[in-house]
């Protein structure tokens, strides 16, 4: 990868790298710090990373691993435990900006591995195989994390909505 290629890569993929970190920590300052470090690491290894899909996979992998490492070393761990939950067939009603914020916070409070799985699945639209390659884990482990984390988020998100529903008429916000 040339220096010109590197500049194009930064401009094209800054959103992806930043978003993964931002969704992981729900903190813009930390996300920016991590995103910068990932690109600088790419710059140092640009001769061994090809532009294109190889580079995208490299960026995703590096960002997620850096997020996980940072979380493990730092002290802001307010995780909730992902226990085995019963099936909770709750349908969460339509889009609500406060619900979205609540969902982001819930995702950012999960333990590091289920958190990474959810961010890659719903933020990056990756399938289980791609997630497994990125996180270097079997596909069945990816599915297991996905099911448990999704059920937990669903339950806690639905509880939030029940607490909010104390007025007679709910209007749909755009």
């Amino acid at each position: 990868m040339t220096k010109t290629d590197f500049e194009s890569v930064v401009r094209e993929h800054q959103g992806m790298v930043y978003s993964i970190a931002c969704n992981f920590f729900h903190n813009a300052a930390i996300a920016e710090e991590i995103a910068q470090d990932v690109f600088l690491q790419l710059y140092e290894r640009r001769r061994s990373v090809e532009a294109g899909s190889h580079c995208v996979a490299w960026l995703r992998r590096s960002t997620v691993h850096r997020c996980i490492d940072t979380l493990r070393r730092s002290s802001f761990r307010n995780e909730i435990q992902v226990d085995v939950l019963p099936e909770i067939p709750v349908d969460v009603p339509a889009t609500d900006p406060f619900l979205q914020e609540r969902l982001r916070r819930l995702v950012a409070s999960l333990p590091e591995t289920p958190r990474a799985v959810l961010v890659l699945r719903f933020g990056e639209d990756m399938d289980a195989e791609e997630i497994g390659r990125t996180l270097q884990m079997p596909v069945r482990t990816v599915w297991s994390h996905l099911q448990r984390a999704t059920a937990l988020i669903r339950e806690k998100g639905a509880r939030y909505l029940e607490e909010k529903e104390d007025e007679p008429v709910r209007t749909r916000s755009s």
């Binding site: 978003s19 710090e33 802001f76 889009t95």
Partner: protein
């Protein structure tokens, strides 16, 4: 796709970094391309930083914590200034209404 999955996707959808992010990365990358002596010194610093990180990771978490505190402080300042602007604006509006009422009272009294 269920409404829940839709909401989760919406909440985790991509967002752009702050303006100037790419320029900042490119500037830092250029700064890494220094003459030999600088590279040696920078590498020494990088290795020293890595050793600190490997030993406990405390330095890394403190830097992140300090950044977080700074970001929180900036956010708090911004909130305060927004709150003061709104308060000032509404107080001025109320003051205008008060002045208009006083003026009307004075006019009525002078007519009597």
């Amino acid at each position: 796709m269920s409404p829940f999955e839709h909401d989760l996707r919406e909440s985790l959808k991509r967002r752009e970094p702050p303006q100037g992010f790419a320029e900042s990365v490119l500037a830092r990358a250029s700064a890494m391309e220094r003459p030999h002596g600088h590279i040696q010194f920078s590498r020494w610093l990088a290795v020293a930083a890595l050793v600190v990180l490997m030993v406990g990771g405390i330095a890394a978490s403190r830097v992140i914590q300090e950044r977080r505190r700074q970001a929180d402080g900036e956010k708090a300042k911004e909130q305060l200034i927004v709150a003061l602007r709104i308060t000032g604006s509404k107080l001025r509006l109320a003051h205008e209404k008060f002045s208009a009422i006083q003026q009307r009272t004075i006019e009525l009294q002078s007519q009597q």
